[in-house]
């Protein structure tokens, strides 16, 4: 028989444990500390989207024309760093010199209805470009998961969507205009200033500032977007068939659940059935709650997740592609994404899931798998090879060092190339080995910007192997 004193003592221990767990959870959920909103000189704080990069730019430039941009480039404080929406997780835009926004150079410049090409101001946000192209009967048939980025920022970092027959955004560029660091405006295409065209299509904002970009678009198309759950192992086995069956296809592997969420997009003539209210954010927060409550009991965590997911029905929406391909992602995170040879994608993903489930019970974000067709831009992560990407996320309030310690070695072992806008630790020596045209690109950058006026600490590591 259990005595009353024992019961009370047990209850006390349980109560203290619960209070401790609640306190620990509240401590983990605190907002990460922020640097002061202004520095001693009165310069306003700049932080990237996830909050891990920050600076106090001495100048904030927002030209509204090519002439104004050219003039500013000649006199601006250095390093000069173009910024779009600040979505890069790396220090690409970080500067205490001049932060240069192209928000004042936005919209469609001209278009050709016969060829489905549109010449677009480089500062146009992707979220604005969708409806603008729709109005002229065109679309970008492949878009990234998030559409807050500027077009210039997207192409400069090799931003991509998914679909084995689709290149990343920069693969659709037929020509562009660029303001070099010395202020000269140059027009580039495959048959005009071809070297700069090849180097600066994915240029990291290191070769100058793109001003106008001509895109080879597609006729506006109605698509069916389907989202459904499946067994993770079966999904990985079926991945080659899924890629062959669908125009755009991706899946999220959900660690600690044995579950995958698959998303496909295909042309359709079905009647419009618009996107319903966002359920992804609620599902993500459910996974967080599962982590918070059962993170230390993996078997129970898996069983609870599978019970919750068992009744999930497939969802379908029909609409124009630009309304369905990208998503709102109000939960901030940090991310590492590498692009691997297509045949290495699933083996690497198995390693990633195994490492997370063995060592990182705090991870609750799904791991994203996509495919991208090869292209020929010199600094494209997809240069010369069809690629499968794997993206690992960490909640913005959580530790993300494991991305470097545990995940990046797997990607490196599988011959991966990092997404330019996402976390990586590589430098010039690594890129020389990974990119067949790296030496030519680096030499051209040196010729265009011999004083390194557009190089910040991050880019000095990337191009010159200087420690940050």
């Amino acid at each position: 028989m259990v005595s009353r004193r024992t019961l009370l003592a047990g209850a006390g221990v349980l109560g203290a444990g619960a209070a401790g767990a609640i306190g620990y959870r509240a401590w983990r959920d605190r907002e990460p500390p922020s640097p002061p909103a202004q520095n001693a000189d009165g310069d306003l704080l700049w932080r990237n989207w996830s909050g891990i990069e920050h600076a106090y730019p001495a100048e904030r430039l927002a030209p509204t024309s090519e002439d104004e941009l050219a003039s500013l480039l000649r006199t601006a404080a250095t390093p000069i760093r173009p910024v779009g929406s600040g979505h890069s997780f790396t220090g690409l835009a970080t500067t205490d010199g001049a932060l240069l926004s192209l928000d004042g150079m936005s919209g469609i410049v001209s278009h050709d209805a016969a060829t489905h090409r549109a010449n677009v101001w480089a500062g146009t946000r992707l979220a604005d470009l969708g409806p603008a192209l729709s109005a002229i009967g065109q679309e970008m048939p492949n878009l990234p998961d998030i559409n807050k980025q500027s077009l210039a920022g997207g192409v400069a970092t090799g931003t991509h969507g998914t679909g084995r027959d689709f290149t990343a955004l920069h693969g659709q560029i037929t020509r562009f205009r660029i303001a070099r660091p010395d202020g000269e405006i140059v027009e580039c295409a495959l048959n005009r200033n071809a070297e700069l065209f090849n180097a600066a299509r994915v240029g990291l904002g290191a070769f100058g500032v793109l001003t106008q970009i001509e895109l080879q678009n597609a006729p506006l198309t109605r698509v069916l977007k389907r989202q459904w759950g499946a067994d993770l192992e079966e999904t990985m086995e079926a991945w080659p068939q899924l890629q062959a069956q669908h125009r755009n296809i991706e899946f999220y592997a959900v660690p600690f659940t044995g579950y995958a969420a698959i998303i496909s997009v295909d042309p359709t003539d079905r009647p419009v059935s618009p996107r319903s209210a966002d359920e992804d954010t609620g599902a993500l927060m459910s996974l967080k709650m599962l982590r918070d409550t059962l993170g230390y009991v993996p078997a129970l965590r898996r069983a609870a997740a599978q019970a919750a997911f068992a009744d999930q029905q497939p969802t379908e929406w029909v609409d124009e592609g630009w309304k369905l391909l990208s998503n709102e992602r109000p939960v901030r995170f940090n991310e590492m994404e590498y692009h691997l040879p297509l045949e290495a994608q699933i083996p690497a993903l198995r390693d990633v899931i195994a490492v997370i489930e063995r060592h990182r019970g705090d991870v609750f974000f799904p791991v994203e798998a996509r495919t991208i067709r090869a292209d020929e831009a010199w600094l494209s992560p997809f240069h010369g090879r069809d690629s499968g990407s794997i993206a690992v996320h960490a909640y913005y309030k959580d530790d993300y060092q494991f991305l470097f310690d545990l995940i990046e070695p797997i990607f490196r072992r599988h011959d991966g190339r990092p997404h330019w806008g996402k976390l990586h630790s590589l430098g010039a020596r690594d890129f020389t080995a990974l990119y067949p045209r790296w030496t030519e690109a680096a030499a051209l950058r040196q010729e265009i910007d011999p004083e390194g006026r557009m190089l910040n600490a991050h880019l000095r590591r990337v191009f010159l192997d200087e420690p940050a």
Binding site: A37, S101, D103, G104, M289, A307, R332
Partner: protein
């Protein structure tokens, strides 16, 4: 054990609701979408940055001019809102996607979206 799992599964399902705290159910997106600052520079900044999230229920941001969502925030004081805008806070990205905005621009944009003509 199975009962415990099912209870947790139900709790997880209930966790699926999102949206900004205090958001008015009756407030319509049409009103938010139609609103724009009267001052030209502010309107351009708003159109290019704030509007993309503050006219979308899925973004989790309080909708422009939705007093039900904004009033509790406004009570914190415009300086706190300015700090959260510059530094980022929860779903609010640092700088609010507007990197050519000055501190005064941010103050005026916050006041506009909160349904106040002038910052207080």
């Amino acid at each position: 054990m199975r009962a415990m799992i099912l209870v947790l599964a139900l709790a997880l399902a209930a966790c699926g609701e999102t949206g900004p705290a205090g958001a008015s159910a009756e407030y319509t997106l049409t009103t938010a979408l139609a609103a724009t600052p009267s001052e030209t520079r502010l309107a351009r900044l708003y159109e290019g940055s704030c509007k993309t999230c503050h006219t979308s229920r899925e973004s989790g941001a309080p909708l422009t001019l939705d007093r039900g969502a904004w009033d509790p925030r406004w009570e914190k004081g415009v300086d706190t809102l300015l700090d959260n805008t510059i530094s980022g806070f929860e779903a609010m990205p640092p700088g609010g996607l507007c990197f050519s905005c000055t501190a005064d621009d941010y103050r005026n944009l916050i006041a506009f979206m909160a349904g106040r003509e002038e910052p207080q």
